[in-house]
């Protein structure tokens, strides 16, 4: 046995690294280096005539003029950048609250009351997860048309006098779309947490005289605080980069989000600006991202 280990000792040291190598190369080539390119372009120069980017791959050559320019626009009152940024912040906040308000009761129901239908419900709840986001939004585009089902139903039951143009730049439609799109991402971590709460803890609280509401407020809610936080992170991070929901459901300047700024600056060949905006977005999201990774790691330790 010992001799075997001794003989294979050197090979053993390279055994697992060799397994990690292809993926590491992939990550370097298609994640790390591309992000370096973003920096090289954001901190690089511009061709004065054609306005094409002049990337600088040597960090010593980096200049921060155009990046600072983009950044300062964010602080200019009522500039397009600032408006888009504040709008994104508002939409994301409202949509996250909406996701939580819808997601919590649903997850609670699933964990506590679905009973023998639990598996069936779980499948139904997981289903939207794996449906194409585009298809789910496309379904709503049809429903929300002027002569679509939503207007027809609302007019028929008398809630609306005449059909409303839901798809013509209504912020409420965008927030609704975001909630619809991301609420499943909120439900799963909440469900996983609520399902793990020990029933005897709840019974103990009830035995000691706490009412239903008091048990919820003093036991269930504090125990699910971490899942609420994780769920909020999970929906907030992608929402911040979402530009397609807005394009599909509103498509006006007055509703354009931060992601739309990035896309439109790339499409109008303002590559430099686009790169800077991406860096700004990542810098803003760095703190929630790190928090999320840490809480995910802690959750994994708890499970293990």
């Amino acid at each position: 046995m010992r001799s075997k280990l001794g003989r294979g000792g050197y090979r053993l040291q390279l055994f697992w690294p060799a397994f990690a190598a292809p993926a590491t190369v992939w990550l370097l080539a298609f994640f790390v280096v591309p992000f370096f390119v973003i920096m090289a372009i954001a901190f690089g120069g511009l061709d004065p005539v054609f306005l094409t980017p002049d990337p600088r791959y040597d960090p010593l050559d980096w200049q921060f003029g155009s990046f600072a320019n983009v950044l300062s626009h964010l602080f200019v009152r009522e500039s397009i950048y600032q408006q888009a940024f504040l709008r994104t912040l508002a939409y994301v906040t409202l949509a996250s609250i909406g996701c939580l308000l819808i997601g919590y009761p649903v997850a609670y129901f699933m964990a506590r009351h679905a009973g023998r239908f639990k598996t069936a419900f779980l499948v139904a709840f997981i289903a939207p997860f794996w449906m194409s986001y585009m298809m789910r939004m496309f379904a709503w585009v049809n429903l929300l048309q002027e002569e679509g089902y939503v207007n027809r139903i609302l007019v028929n039951i008398g809630l609306l006098q005449s059909p409303r143009l839901w798809l013509q730049g209504k912020p409420s439609t965008v927030v609704f779309g975001l909630i619809y799109g991301y609420v499943p991402f909120m439900i799963l971590p909440l469900y996983a947490m609520l399902d793990r709460i020990d029933r005897s803890t709840l019974e103990a609280a009830r035995d000691l005289g706490a009412g239903q509401i008091q048990t919820f407020r003093r036991i269930t809610l504090p125990l699910s605080r971490q899942a609420i936080f994780a769920g909020c992170m999970i929906v907030t991070l992608p929402m911040f980069g979402d530009y397609y929901t807005q394009t599909l459901l509103a498509s006006t300047r007055g509703t354009s989000m931060f992601g739309n700024l990035i896309v439109s600056s790339l499409e109008s060949s303002l590559v430099n600006t686009g790169a800077s905006l991406v860096l700004v977005m990542i810098a803003l999201l760095m703190i929630p991202m790190v928090f999320y990774l840490r809480s995910a790691a802690r959750a994994r330790e708890l499970v293990a």
Partner: protein, 306 residues
């Protein structure tokens, strides 16, 4: 709801009483749960139904036709060039992503579980970041990379495959890690005590135990690749590299024909099938060692970045 309760009519009040009755099973929560399912699934079901509309409308039902928008019409999925190309491109892209992302992801997941060091921890950190960075940032980075630095590759199918397989790699890694956690190290150590080399233990003991995780990875990577929009759009060039989600995105608002619904329905069917396979694989595995519904929920959990 409370506005109804104040009304003089006793029917709403009675309904509210029925809903809130503390002695019955939580009807209030049942209503919420069922309403939620209807709200999430009905719109998609209606979109699927309209792919069988006999007429051209997407908002008014004009009778049932099984094959008009799939096969018969000049602008059906089968006969319209752009729709067919998009479907083929989607299948090609997701197939190639599976071929790359699953093997290297599984190997990576195994390696960082067994080989604990600073390098492996760093690589794992980068992998996790690639997973939770908003997709648009990844897509823009890849776009600039392929247009400014790696111009030999350029935009198009190759770039889409490279970018997407990198982004999707996190799924197999996370799935394998979860599975390794429940397998434990005992089987492998036992095999090595009985004289198997590391490689033999891996091939004859660990790999069979990991089969459910591999199947699940294939299903999930395929389904999420076929639905991927942001990265594939940014790295596409012209009509020949348009995928189904890109086509839906660009024509949803321009009053498309039900053939677009048919196209979406086909991809929905494909991805649902793959997810079902993945779910069943994980379920059979978890029933063998731990069991329970919670393990099935795990296939939903790895999704963090959108």
């Amino acid at each position: 709801m409370s506005a109804e309760a104040v009304g003089t009519d006793s029917t709403p009040r009675r309904f509210l009483g029925w809903l809130m009755n503390p002695w019955a099973r939580a009807r209030f929560l049942w209503v919420i749960g069922l309403a939620y399912i209807a709200w999430t699934l009905l719109p998609v079901a209606i979109a699927v139904a309209f792919s069988f509309n006999a007429g051209k409308s997407q908002t008014a039902w004009q009778g049932f036709s099984l094959t008009r928008w799939y096969l018969d019409d000049v602008s059906s999925v089968w006969q319209d060039d752009s729709l067919r190309t998009a479907l083929l491109q989607s299948l090609k892209l997701s197939g190639l992503s599976v071929l790359i992302a699953v093997p290297i992801g599984i190997a990576f997941g195994l390696a960082i579980d067994r080989w604990r060091g600073r390098t492996s921890r760093g690589a794992n950190m980068v992998m996790l970041f690639s997973f939770i960075t908003p997709e648009i940032a990844v897509a823009v980075a890849l776009f600039l990379y392929f247009t400014q630095l790696a111009t030999v590759i350029g935009l198009g199918l190759k770039a889409q495959v490279f970018g997407l397989s990198m982004y999707e790699m996190a799924y197999p890694v996370i799935i394998v890690q979860a599975r390794l956690l429940s397998i434990g190290k005992e089987y492998e150590e036992a095999a090595m005590d009985l004289g198997a080399s590391q490689m033999q233990a891996l091939r004859r003991v660990l790999l069979p135990l990991l089969t459910p995780a591999i199947v699940a990875s294939v299903g999930i990577v395929f389904a999420t690749s076929i639905d991927n929009f942001v990265i594939s759009q940014r790295l596409s060039i012209g009509a020949s590299t348009q995928t189904v989600p890109i086509l839906i995105y660009s024509s949803a608002r321009t009053a498309p024909l039900p053939s677009l619904n048919a196209l979406a329905t086909i991809t929905l069917f494909a991805s649902t099938l793959m997810i079902a396979v993945a779910g069943l694989a994980l379920r059979s595995a978890s029933r063998r060692d731990r069991g329970g519904v919670a393990a099935t929920a795990k296939i939903g959990l790895p999704v963090a970045g959108g």
